[in-house]
């Protein structure tokens, strides 16, 4: 009986671990650009390059490297272009903040218009 419980326990947890790793793999593959494809990520592509990068990412995960370390390694070889989500830096801060600025600006305009309408109605 004990043996059966141990086997079930082992199978359950080994399954959970493999799921976790697979999710991490896919997450990384989806954020990597296939440099020889037209608008495809490494996850979507079956090109030689994509297959090789997948193998390298798998190895790095098995070596215990974090997502950040894997991205940094690939960026050091292929430049920022290889990642779909670029790192925050001086050159791209507008890319990160502009949508929020536009949102805030839009909200201010809407607020001003509503206020103006209310004032007009009150008068």
């Amino acid at each position: 009986m004990k043996k059966i419980i141990l086997i079930i326990f082992f199978l359950t947890f080994s399954h959970l671990k493999s799921d976790e790793v697979t999710k991490l793999h896919i997450e990384i593959y989806k954020n990597l650009r296939c440099l020889v494809c037209q608008g495809q990520s490494i996850a979507d592509s079956n090109s030689e390059f994509a297959q090789t990068v997948k193998l390298v990412v798998k190895d790095k995960i098995n070596e215990g490297k974090s997502k950040k370390e894997i991205y940094e390694f690939l960026i050091s070889k292929y430049g920022e272009w290889i990642v779909y989500q670029p790192r925050f830096n001086r050159g791209n801060f507008l890319l990160w903040f502009l949508p929020y600025l536009i949102l805030i600006f839009g909200a201010i305009i809407i607020y001003a218009l509503i206020k103006k309408r209310k004032n007009n109605k009150a008068n």
Binding site: F49, T52, V53, L55, K77, W81, F105, I109
Partner: protein, 173 residues
């Protein structure tokens, strides 16, 4: 006053968006990994294609100049550049050619070398292609000119041509 300010902001925003698109669309740069020029090679270990020998960065340190060429028997453009590699073997005195056979079948690779000639001083095999990532390779053929300090002097993406052949001869004089 408020209206003028609002108009000014909208105008600036429109100019910014148009400007961004204009600059972006005018850019005709083709992606490459030439940013690696001037950097040093990472340590690597590969097995020799035919001999019981390990090919690594120590071998590169022994030669004044090294041309690391990624190739495969299934790669069409590799055939096109092969004559330049053969000429480099004959004419570039201070240069050693290191061929890295990429994701290939050993039998086919050897058949290719017997048919077209073997220009390489050392032949290594990267059967899974994983080591190529350390060199920033994203397609073959690709050649990397490296000095004995492991410094990348130049990268040649795609098949070598006559101009690049002359360039390598001049750089390794």
């Amino acid at each position: 006053m408020k209206k003028t300010f609002l108009k000014l902001i909208l105008f600036a925003l429109a100019i910014f968006i148009i400007g961004t698109f204009y600059v972006g669309l005018k850019k005709t740069e083709i992606y490459d990994t030439k940013n690696l020029i001037g950097t040093n090679l990472d340590n690597f270990t590969l097995n020799s294609l035919n001999e019981d020998l390990e090919i690594n960065q120590e071998l590169i340190k022994e030669n004044q100049y090294n041309l690391i060429n990624f190739w495969a028997s299934w790669c069409g453009p590799c055939r096109a550049e092969h004559k330049y590699l053969m000429n480099l073997n004959r004419n570039a005195k201070n240069l050693k050619l290191i061929g890295i056979n990429f994701k290939d079948d050993k039998k086919n690779a050897n058949k290719f070398l017997s048919k077209f000639g073997d220009p390489y001083h050392y032949s290594a095999a990267d059967s899974e292609g994983k080591v190529s990532i350390n060199f920033g390779v994203y397609g073959i053929p690709e050649s990397i000119l490296v000095d004995n300090n492991l410094k990348i002097i130049k990268k040649f993406i795609g098949p070598l041509n006559q101009d690049e052949y002359k360039d390598i001869i001049n750089l390794t004089k």
